[in-house]
């Protein structure tokens, strides 16, 4: 074992600095993607549990592998909480028949799930999920234009859905695709506009810089509460969550854009939706709620030990999970918007509001300087 570690160490130091960066990049990508997938799996469980509680039910509490009942106390408890349910869900998706209906446009039909899941996974690349551990910054890509990158990638998410609606070659998915293209493009504008006050206040597009600014001045939600509200509502619309889930309105459109999909392809759309939720929550935490910092216990500056580094990551995850719960909670709180109300809210309420907010923030900053 020692020998192995020694050889690993010497191999690492024999790499060029660029090689070391690439190696760490790959390691971080693997870990982050794994964590996001795990979060997605368990947020599906959270969705089912929370919806159950709100509707006076118990939720999934039976699924368990055969060995679970032999673990004293913990095993039955985990079963009660439905902790094994995501495993069963995943297995189910894998073993289901991957059915391709006769009428679909084959190439687009295969392409659409990939096109919708890739942007969802790419968004997390720029989000700083922790301060530092050792010499490694806890962010996959410390881009100077982090926010612009995010908006660029997020706006690609719509293509997967539109393509799925088009490829299915049947009317309900088509309606879903049409709705989502209109909805997501409309709300992207207010979303983009809502962040500008944040950028004006901080004066930097780098997400790490935004977090550093917040650790000295306080969370940005205090400075730009209106921006936060608009950003949150717009991110609900962007991720197709209730009350803006028109693209996948089950009661109206059978299943929306993914009606014709089954098995793993359907699972990819599912994954994309929940990854988008994770990414939106992460963005909200980073932009408005101080990212990995907490204003006390000395958690507001980059970590100087591994333990503090881990603590920062946990703080970030906790904040993110809070917003995930909000996402889920809201789904079981409100009915869906009508289509014209949705457009009205996006174009005639939030867009002017966001613009006014930019103006007010700019004037306020100008008065202070």
């Amino acid at each position: 074992m020692d020998n192995f570690l020694q050889s690993l160490k010497s191999w690492y130091f024999s790499l060029s600095p660029d090689g070391q960066v690439v190696l760490w990049g790959v390691v971080k990508i693997l870990i982050v993607v794994g964590v996001v997938q795990g979060l997605v799996a368990y947020s599906v469980l959270a969705e089912r549990k929370i919806s159950a509680w709100i509707q006076d039910r118990v939720g999934p509490n039976r699924t368990a592998p055969p060995f679970a009942k032999y673990i004293p106390i913990i095993g039955p408890a985990l079963t009660r909480w439905g902790m094994f349910q995501p495993l069963a869900d995943g297995l189910k998706f894998m073993f289901k028949e991957d059915f391709t209906p006769a009428g679909v446009k084959k190439i687009y039909f295969f392409l659409a799930p990939a096109v919708s899941v890739i942007p969802a996974m790419l968004t997390v690349a720029v989000i700083p999920f922790g301060s530092v551990m050792g010499h490694q910054k806890m962010v996959i890509a410390d881009l100077n234009v982090g926010i612009l990158y995010t908006f660029g990638i997020v706006s690609m998410g719509v293509y997967g859905i539109v393509l799925a609606g088009y490829a299915a070659n049947s009317k309900y998915p088509f309606f879903g695709g049409i709705r989502s293209s209109a909805q997501m493009i409309s709300y992207e504008i207010s979303m983009g506009m809502s962040v500008i006050p944040v950028l004006l206040i901080v004066g930097n597009l780098n997400l790490n810089a935004i977090i550093t600014w917040q650790s000295t001045h306080g969370w940005l939600v205090i400075y730009a509460p209106l921006a936060f509200v608009i950003f949150m509502v717009a991110s609900f619309a962007e991720t197709n969550r209730t009350p803006f889930d028109l693209p996948e309105a089950e009661t109206e459109l059978v299943g929306g854009y993914h009606t014709e999909y089954s098995s793993m392809k359907f699972a990819l759309f599912f994954l994309a939706e929940y990854s988008n939720m994770v990414a939106s929550s992460a963005m909200m935490v980073t932009l408005f709620f101080g990212g990995w910092t907490l204003p006390f216990w000395g958690l507001d500056h980059p970590a100087d030990s591994i333990g503090m580094g881990i603590l920062h990551i946990l703080v970030f995850l906790a904040k993110m999970c809070f917003f995930m719960v909000v996402f889920i909670w809201v789904r079981w709180m409100f009915p869906r918007f009508r289509y014209d109300q949705l457009m009205d809210l996006g174009w005639r309420r939030f867009l002017p509001l966001a613009l006014v907010n930019i103006l007010i923030t700019a004037v306020w900053l100008w008065m202070r300087s």
């Binding site: 159950a52 509680w53 709100i54 509707q55 006076d56 039910r57 118990v58 509490n61 709180m333 409100f334």
Partner: protein
């Protein structure tokens, strides 16, 4: 003739959606709290908890024994004939068959089978039985690993059916007969 429904225009607060949001938070929190901490869930966790079945519930039909533990069925085959889905099959004892368990009965079935997969729980067999030998009981969850296992034979039906003493309908006849004794009713 079209009817115009008066819709009140939304007030300023309502247009902000804020009262609706607060109301939603209130309702969902109340329900989640009640389910989580006050045990107000409406789910009945089935295999552990079960319904209390109402009187007169029509479950699976089983054969019953009388108070002496004898087979009440006399193999008249009325239930077999009346059974709409043809779930019952009776093999009569024939000329040289086994004599009936109980006295006063001419015969009893050599084999009595109910296919529980065919049975529709209509209760006609119970209604038609002159000997009150078959009753719809309170079993509703019959499971098996094969179709064959769900064809219940006489032995199993008798075992599941339990005991139902006497034949109540003769009691009524008896009362009638006794009433005949002092027929011209004295007013």
């Amino acid at each position: 003739m079209a009817i115009t429904v008066n819709r009140k225009p939304l007030t300023f607060w309502e247009k902000l959606y804020l009262p609706a949001i607060l109301g939603g938070i209130k309702v969902t929190t109340k329900h989640a709290w009640g389910t989580l901490f006050q045990g107000k869930k409406v789910t009945m966790e089935y295999p552990e908890q079960k319904w209390t079945l109402p009187a007169g519930y029509r479950g699976a039909p089983y054969l019953v024994k009388d108070q002496d533990g004898d087979t009440k069925c006399v193999s008249c085959q009325l239930c077999e004939f009346v059974c709409p889905p043809k779930a019952i099959r009776i093999t009569p004892p024939g000329d040289s068959g086994q004599p009936a368990d109980r006295t006063n009965a001419e015969k009893m079935p050599q084999e009595f089978e109910i296919n529980m997969l065919r049975c529709i729980y209509c209760g006609f067999c119970q209604e038609v039985c002159p000997e009150e030998a078959i009753f719809l009981q309170k079993d509703y969850s019959l499971t098996a690993l094969s179709r064959g296992e769900l064809i219940y034979n006489k032995e199993k039906l008798l075992e599941l059916g339990g005991v139902s003493p006497g034949i109540q309908k003769w009691k009524h006849k008896q009362e009638e007969a006794e009433a005949q004794e002092n027929f011209p009713v004295k007013v």
